[in-house]
Symmetry: C2
Subunit: 389 residues, 2 copies
Amino acid sequence: MGKLRQFEKPTGFRDFPPSTAAKKRLVERRVQACFQRWGYREVLTPTLEYFDTVGAASAIPEYKMFKLIDREGKTLVLRPDLTAPIARMVSSVLKDDPLPIRLYYHASVFRAQDDSARTVEFFQSGVELVGDPSPEADAEVIALAAEALSACEISPFQLAVGHVELLDGLLREQVEDPQQVEQLKACLGARDVVGYKERVAQLNLTPEGKELLLRLPHLSGGKDRLESLRPQMRSRRVENAVRHLWEMWEALEDFGANRHVVLDLSLVGSLHYYTGVYFEGYALPSSFPLVSGGRYDRLLERFGRPAPATGFALKTDRLMEASPAADQEMERVALVYPRSARREAIRRAQELRKEGKAVILQVADDPDQRTEIDADRVVRWEEGEDGRK
Amino acid sequence: MGKLRQFEKPTGFRDFPPSTAAKKRLVERRVQACFQRWGYREVLTPTLEYFDTVGAASAIPEYKMFKLIDREGKTLVLRPDLTAPIARMVSSVLKDDPLPIRLYYHASVFRAQDDSARTVEFFQSGVELVGDPSPEADAEVIALAAEALSACEISPFQLAVGHVELLDGLLREQVEDPQQVEQLKACLGARDVVGYKERVAQLNLTPEGKELLLRLPHLSGGKDRLESLRPQMRSRRVENAVRHLWEMWEALEDFGANRHVVLDLSLVGSLHYYTGVYFEGYALPSSFPLVSGGRYDRLLERFGRPAPATGFALKTDRLMEASPAADQEMERVALVYPRSARREAIRRAQELRKEGKAVILQVADDPDQRTEIDADRVVRWEEGEDGRK
């Protein structure tokens, strides 16, 4: 191994200088204000988890996890997501708290990347609403995601909402072979509509079935799209999903959030643990998600406290880039003083700090010393002055 | 390996439920307000660093580090402290920023423990002031540490301030064998005054030298203690250190911080990279440090940008326990509504949120459903009501 350069940091890891760190704080503060107003409370989980518990329950594939072995020989992973650790927490530390429970977090997650240029430690802010199976709960997290994006001044943005059971159900009603269903979903997940249609064309289907599947990638819009499905529904599973989405849409109307939402019935969940409503949010015209989330009703049972759940994670790093928001920063004043004026300079600094300014005190033995100072305003005392200028 | 219980987390790692997470936020917010008013700016560094750079430069012994191997075969460590990463950052990302530079951080650090009951991931909030060799810089960080402890309502507290060069110089002026000097420092570091005195008694010293070394553990107080050393100073090193401490004390008087400070000339730096002033702060009568810090003038050169530096780290976990501070929390209101009153309930929630309240919306199809809700006030709609009660 060659000698490392002194300033090197591991591949895919980043330093945040003051300007970037301040933007991260801004985004986190704004989304946190939303989470708190909606009754969510912050929790923290460890950076390391057991592979056998959280690692195995996580939706992140094993090859993307950072692993290490502890002194007892157990395999640990750097937290690949927050949903599994919080599910663990709800089932242990918080096991006596009644459901539903509303939690939020700000944390970094770690995912090894094939492409060495990509970030491996990145930040998420998210919520988990555990214990509520209702369409209102799905509408709540979607409306809250919309409020969080608005709070970061993302405009315009759109939330695409699908339903993994509905998509799976519609495909299975027409296509018997589960492997073919998975292949169709893989095309949709990769947004390969051409490939999807080619595959559909090759399948042995009824004319109505073929027509439905070909229409699926274009079934996006408002709740009328659900109406158009009704004649084709054949299974209870699809019926239930359509009813759930319908109720959710009406709740979104009540939240006033439906104007940001487009139903996209061909949307494929990004993680395998989703069991119902799934959504992604974009700053238009980008198609890079700033947020993704949805319902995961089967995860909690893996930790011994079966409960329905829904939530989302904002991708903080992308949100920092997409957000034009800026806060009025504290004015930075530097007081440069000779030692003889120290007491006076410190007193003045204390006054200015009380007024809400950031004050840098800098002793300069040489009055002509012209140090460059990171401040909006530099006040220099001269020998013998009282500094009140 | 036995089957792990579903709720297990790795030894020494902790979950923070909402009450604990809120206390951590409180402490961080309050100390951060101090750091910002004094002109410090936040930075973030990666959770993982190269062992060969930051790991080797860190003052934390190698056996306490969590190591892993990356895909390129390089050894990574979980951040054992923040001072070395920030030194790396000042020498790389921030290399064009003029000195002095003032930075702060909130972050977790990782230290493997022999005792499995002890925490291995804990939190620190701290500052680094890079590029200022003056006694005023040392006084600034000590006064800022005092302001941070006050902001957390720690009362009374005391900051013990020593000087690693002064202690080493005084011992070496009397004791020729460097190994014996190290043994004496080990006794002082372990607060084993009896053992220290026994060792001193066995040394072959002049009567004045013996008297001085026996007096050393009791040399704590104000700047008069420095005065009492003057007749015994033999080396430039000791003279310079005494002059530096004297100036620093006068600056602390100007800050009005000297009332919290006791000079303790037998204080041994907790980490090997300290080169001058060293200090620790306690909530009296405890002797468990809530903060420690000092001058480290030789660390930056290891990253290619030689510069004097000083700073401190608050031990956030201990501070959370020691601080009696509590903030007025947002009132939590729960609105429990039947589906028929959804629109009205959501409208009411939006009004209450604008008024600064945290509002939990809960649909309850069964009006008699008496879910336990984590709220200060529960408002229940009855079927057909307008919810304005």
